[in-house]
Subunit: 337 residues, 2 copies
């Protein structure tokens, strides 16, 4: 009898310990962030704006946090993932376009020479996007984008692209939402490309995704209303476009903003210029081992002017190498397998 | 003693009765709607999509309901209220524009001759809107619109414009939200004009308001970032524009849509064409005594093509005269005073 009681007691103590540990884990936000200035600044800001009676208290509906996507919520090297999607689409569509064999930028792309294909600059990139993103209905495009995100793999990491999102940022999104924030994406990426997967991956619903877009047209085809995607730019959600789009779409100024490049600078300026407490932050790509290290000289995600302004204005700069315990969500899982 | 007890008992019984009546009232949705086909159709639809296990069950995040504003949530006669706002602005700004005395459409407006001023059609209306809505920052415009809605009165009813919203539609918005719907405005009206007041009046936050817009530009004025409103149309949220804007802004198809004019037809068609259970409805202005009676021949809020389609497709047509016990929210309050 005695040993049974003892055994039970140990069992109970273990159970209690497990419960306490789970509770502690649940109570401790941002587990993938190292203890340091970045994590502290975030926690302090959230405490400040959510504490009833604090002079900096912000009521729940006004707790708007905006996040760039490429380079802020997921990786963006060696080029924006949506461009890799477009290149895959060029290959898939090539059989229907025999003329592409002799027409740039498609001819080079089909030979695998991305550099030459993109040498035509913005015009070449736009041609690739329009050939692959337009001329179909919104429903057809969504299906294609979903299929790609579910199956395509990154050229160097061999991961699914949705496995190249940043675990610490996932925790940050969740932490904000737990504290009554509405989280929005404000990205230069295509709005319909992102909407095909961001709800499942980040928990951000379609109506909280703002991006670049091409025009669409409402038509009734054989009695069925459709929206057809036209080969015409509607809006470029980058640089000065970001505060414009935030105002157009959200209609109130965010109190927190996260970006990683000069393309996010105006969004951060607009957020910082509000009256109450603000959190304005850059994710700085400093980890060449676990991810990529780049800033002032990079052709993708250049952070030069923005880094100067962040330093001058004392904005938070998140150092990926120092501040993040892990980069992608599945590292722990992989280590456990 | 006995009478005291009796008195207490009656008091208790009255209290109990009052509690029961309040509970019954709280449980009974849409109190300003007469019992009839319209009210039944709405309640049945909401029950259907919110009943777990029903084949037509719709999970909460996908319960999107869209509402036109002018003529659907508030009145729109003798002309769109935003045009009355613009006319008031022309009068307020006239001292700074001596040239308006001799320049149409302003000259006629300033003489009180709205008909002649608007004889120039769309071009004249656009000139009035641009002169009164552009050239200032978004913050300045918001302040002006808020001031107007708080003070200006309708030319014939003498009510504040915010007192000319429809009580049954307020209850409908509330009923939807209580049942897990997100309610959006999708209106031809200016998005920033509406956002200045719809949150307080309808409980619809700025990020759920979609409307027409002019372009804005991000600038830094003496170190302060501002958005300046430009005299250039960005988007007209009417007819074919409504499904385009719904897709652009919400990114998923609504399951319920309410309009009152041909300008809402494409929004209703787009909503009706979804897969699951839908509620697609027109508010029909049939009450010339309590409000205005108009449809096929009206220059404001014309409902002609839409009425034919509603009848052909068996959409719900809400008859304001028959279906609504009261029109505006303060009638009861006024009667009680």
């Amino acid at each position: 009898m005695k040993s049974t009681i003892k055994f039970s007691f140990v069992g109970f103590a273990n159970l209690l310990l497990a419960v306490v540990m789970v509770a502690a884990q649940a109570a401790e936000p941002l587990p993938s962030w190292n203890d340091g200035a970045a994590r502290s600044a975030i926690v302090k800001f959230v405490d400040t704006v959510t504490t009833q009676g604090s002079p900096d208290f912000v009521p729940e509906p006004a707790r708007i946090a905006v996040f760039d996507n490429d380079g802020t919520l997921w990786a963006e090297q060696p080029m924006y993932f949506q461009l890799l999607f477009a290149i895959d689409r060029v290959k898939a569509l090539a059989p229907n376009h025999p003329e592409w064999k002799h027409k740039e930028p498609f001819a080079s792309l089909l030979k695998g020479d991305v550099k030459t294909a993109l040498a035509g600059g913005e015009h070449a990139a736009l041609e690739i996007v329009m050939a692959t993103h337009a001329g179909i209905t919104t429903a057809e495009f969504e299906k294609i984008a979903r299929g790609w995100i579910a199956n395509a793999r990154h050229p160097t990491t061999q991961r699914l692209y949705a496995e190249m999102i940043y675990q610490p940022m996932l925790e940050l999104l969740d932490y904000f939402r737990t504290n009554g924030f509405k989280t929005f994406i404000v990205s230069g990426g295509g709005v319909e490309f992102m909407r095909a997967w961001v709800n499942e991956v980040y928990g951000i619903p379609p109506e909280q995704v703002i991006g670049s877009s091409i025009k669409t047209e409402f038509r009734i085809n054989n009695g069925v209303p459709v929206l057809t995607r036209l080969p015409e730019v509607n809006f470029i959600d980058d640089r000065e476009g970001k505060p414009v789009a935030i105002n157009q779409h959200i209609g109130r100024r965010p109190i927190a903003a996260f970006g990683n490049s000069d393309g996010d600078l105006q969004m951060l300026q607009w957020t910082a210029a509000g009256d109450s407490a603000r959190l304005v932050a850059y994710v700085h790509h400093t980890d060449g081992d676990r991810e990529w290290a780049y800033d002032r000289k990079s052709s993708i995600g250049q952070l030069d002017e923005g880094l100067d302004e962040a330093q001058a204005k004392d904005w938070l700069v998140i150092d990926m190498k120092k501040d993040w315990k892990q980069i992608y969500p599945d590292e722990t899982k992989q280590a456990m397998q």
